[in-house]
Amino acid sequence: MGVFTYFAYFFIVFMYSVKIVKYIKLPVHLRWELYPIGHEKKSKYGGSYLEEKDWWQKPRKKNTWKSFFSLLREYFVLSDYAKRNITYWIGIYPWHIGFLLIITFHILCFVSGLLLAKGFDVSSRSLGFGSKFLYYGILITGSISFFSGMIGSIGVLMNRIFRRDLREYATPLNFLTYFFTFLVFFTGFYSWFFTDPEFKEYRIFWAGLVTQDFKDVGFWTMIHILSFDLFLIYLPFTRSLHYITRFLAFFLIRWDDEPNIPGGRLEKKLIRLFEKKVSWSAPHIQKGKKWGELARSIP
């Protein structure tokens, strides 16, 4: 099981990385921004630097951190959903909180595994603040994550089943995902509630992973860890990367208002793209020409 867990983590990191690199490496696109733009000083009402006469002669101030944190905040509140469709939000909010906390839970388990491997104690009786923090952190994030995720899985499933507009657009893969997440959170909840209320087995399992001295755990904990590992392997085949690509979409597309400055890096990239050969075959597009040649031709 330890090797399988290693594999599952490696697999998801590898697959996500491939997808992100593929995304980032797509050619620079024509501007297609949409206002309000997070880093604009006039973002409150959706204004832009184009509201200034002779805008190219004026310094442009970008508040990238502001936009970064506004996006980050959304992960914890999902306010866009709450504002626009509260019933949908009621389903997806606990689901997403379940995901966020299960990631935190695993990170804390990993750190506690490191400490245990170094001979420290991680329990309610630990004397050090760090160990105590880890103990309670694992307890809180794990229990809330499993409960919230379990309820959320049912919520999103109900939304998809009972709302016609959601049902019609759902694919079998969506339902498989809901089932899978329910399984993961349910087994986690069951193992915590009935067999391992302090998550001791997880800490031992993670210490075993760190030292590569794999330890046996109880049946329900094992079922949960296995289902979670399988879930990690399954995730890259779903649209789950939207957690990360949301950032890319906002920074690289929706908020990409970067003007093309003569002699700049962007211009050099664009000039290279004009060399691309085009094979569209409508009558007004001459065959075999490069983009740049076509742009200066008359149909």
Binding site: L34, G47, E52, L173, A249, L273, K276
Partner: protein
């Protein structure tokens, strides 16, 4: 209705009934005021496919043989492959990839779409509908996917000629206002997907509404303007406008044409010269009083800012953008200012920014900030009492939501009018006029009926609501629409519902209001003549 119904043999997927459309406010909330949507004639019906909703924007011919059907399918798939290829579609592949891959189909965008809501929430007009059709076609027909993957992804659409024809029409049931994209927490843009579908049809299959392609970009590249105005005709029009200005303000103004080395090259939508010359005249009056060093151009394409390519075809878009800048280069002007034309703003200033490199990168800006500086800076003597009638502002999507220019026009209106009232919602959350993405100029078959009764319906509702307290036809009211296409759409919309007669609402541009407020003008500049 199910998504897979798009490929089913059926006379119409959707039957439009006007009593199912969104209700309008007073005085349109009672009585039978709305004309029936025209059906295609029997002759048209024989040759043209309108099996989506009985409406035709594309004028798509029905294939006459199985071979023609197969050819349509082959070309569509070939176009799809090019759309997903970084060489052929570097221009928009990243945003397209994101929108195809990461939509979770939460449907938050649906309520944001004025067409979907106005139609009475018809499924085929839902912003995610056409995107999902395309997604399922790609899943099934592009690349080799295993049976399990196809099953799990729900790819159940058969790609036949009906699917293609309906999808082509569907791409012209969205104004690309991108209000849906604004609502998406994940950055998915169904408006962009719509535009990319249009590109397959135009760039690969050679199919586009004739008003956009043959009479639009092709004519513009050939004779200089999509209106058909030639450089010689332009000289005559300008002479007429100089006479008209003299008659209106009591002094003659020389409209500068082809002035070498001027500070500003002003580019108008050529539709203004023909349909709203008072807009061009008002610019000339303002620039003359303010002492701006400016010029118009009579070079091919130099007098028509429109670039319909931005709505359907990257190649045509690029060709026109480059021609515009070549005109500016030849005149050695310092910068280009775009007049009151929304899509020309976005095309020339924003989208073309990554086409115009090196010596083609001439500074380009909107005329609105300049006008604001003139009004606010006191270069013009303004008396707002001269505009003592209710005025509301329409925010053109291209200028506001897609460029972030929202305040200059408001600052102007607050200074030149006594009764300025906002529509609700406004600014970046505004609703499209219903004529966006080329709809305003598509006049063939029965599409104009659909454009007025459905795509413009939300705008009409907003306008009526803005004037509810003064809706009587005795009170003159003004919708300020600083965009040529929006004006065209509002004109047609008002004609369709007889708004001018029933409610006394008039429409026009922003500069007309500025000139009308000039303190030393002997008679009003706005003539309140319905045209």
């Amino acid at each position: 209705m199910k998504i897979k119904d798009i490929c089913k043999k059926k006379e119409k997927l959707l039957r439009l009934k006007k009593d199912e459309f969104m209700e309008l406010p007073f005085p349109y909330n009672k009585g039978d005021f709305e004309p029936e949507l025209r059906e295609l004639t029997a002759d048209q019906f024989q040759t043209i496919d309108a099996s989506l909703d009985g409406i035709s924007a594309l004028g798509m011919r029905k294939p006459k043989s199985k071979e023609e059907e197969n050819e349509l399918v082959r070309k569509f798939i070939s176009g799809l492959e090019k759309l997903l290829d970084p060489d052929n579609n570097w221009t928009f592949l990243m945003p397209l990839h994101h929108s195809l891959e990461y939509c979770v189909k939460c449907q938050l965008c649906s309520e944001y779409c004025p067409i979907y809501v106005s139609s009475g929430k018809k499924e085929v007009y839902r912003p995610t509908f056409r995107a999902e059709v395309l997604r399922r076609i790609i899943e099934k027909y592009v690349g080799n996917k295993g049976r399990l993957r196809l099953k799990l992804s729900g790819s159940d659409i058969e790609l036949n000629w009906l699917t293609i024809s309906r999808l082509g029409e569907l791409a012209y049931r969205c104004t690309l206002c991108r209000r849906c994209a604004m609502a998406c927490p994940l950055g998915v843009d169904n408006g962009l997907i719509t535009r990319e579908i249009r590109k397959i049809f135009s760039q690969e299959m050679g199919i586009a509404p004739k008003e956009l392609h043959e009479l639009g970009t092709m004519q513009q590249l050939r004779v200089g303007s999509s209106t058909g105005i030639t450089p010689k005709a332009l000289s005559n029009i300008i002479e007429f406008m100089e006479d008209d200005i003299e008659e209106k303000i009591g002094r003659r103004i020389k409209i500068p044409l082809d002035k070498d080395g001027a500070e500003v090259l002003l580019l108008h939508n050529a539709g203004e010269f023909l349909s709203w010359p008072e807009n061009v005249e008002a610019f000339a009056i303002i620039f003359d009083i303010a002492g701006i060093d400016w010029t118009l151009s009579s070079e091919l394409l130099g007098y028509d800012a429109v670039n319909y390519g931005v709505w359907y075809d990257d190649i045509q878009f690029t060709r026109i953008a480059i021609k515009h800048v070549e005109v500016a280069k030849k005149l050695k002007v310092k910068k280009i200012n775009v007049g009151e034309c929304g899509h020309a703003h976005k095309a020339m200033i924003v989208v073309a920014d990554r086409i115009l490199t090196e010596d083609m990168n001439i500074p380009r800006e909107s005329a609105l900030p300049l006008l604001k500086d003139l009004v606010v800076g006191g270069k013009l003597k303004i008396n707002p009492q001269r505009n003592n009638f209710p005025v509301t502002l329409h925010d053109p999507c291209n200028i506001v939501r897609l460029m972030g220019i929202g305040e200059p026009q408001r600052e102007i209106l607050k200074r030149v009018c006594t009764d300025f009232r906002e529509m609700e919602p406004c600014g970046v959350e505004n609703y499209c006029c219903g004529g966006g993405s080329g709809f305003a100029i598509i006049q063939s078959l029965n599409f104009p009926d659909w454009r007025s009764s459905i795509s413009g319906r939300m705008k009409l509702k907003q306008i009526l609501e803005a004037f509810q307290g003064v809706i009587s036809p005795e009170v003159k009211k003004y919708v300020c629409a600083p965009c040529s296409n929006c004006k065209g759409q509002i004109r047609d919309l008002f004609n369709y519902f007889d708004v001018n007669k029933k409610c006394g609402i008039f429409y026009g541009g922003l500069v007309e209001l500025i000139v009308n407020a000039l303190d030393d003008l002997k008679k009003p500049f706005i003539e309140w003549e319905w045209h």
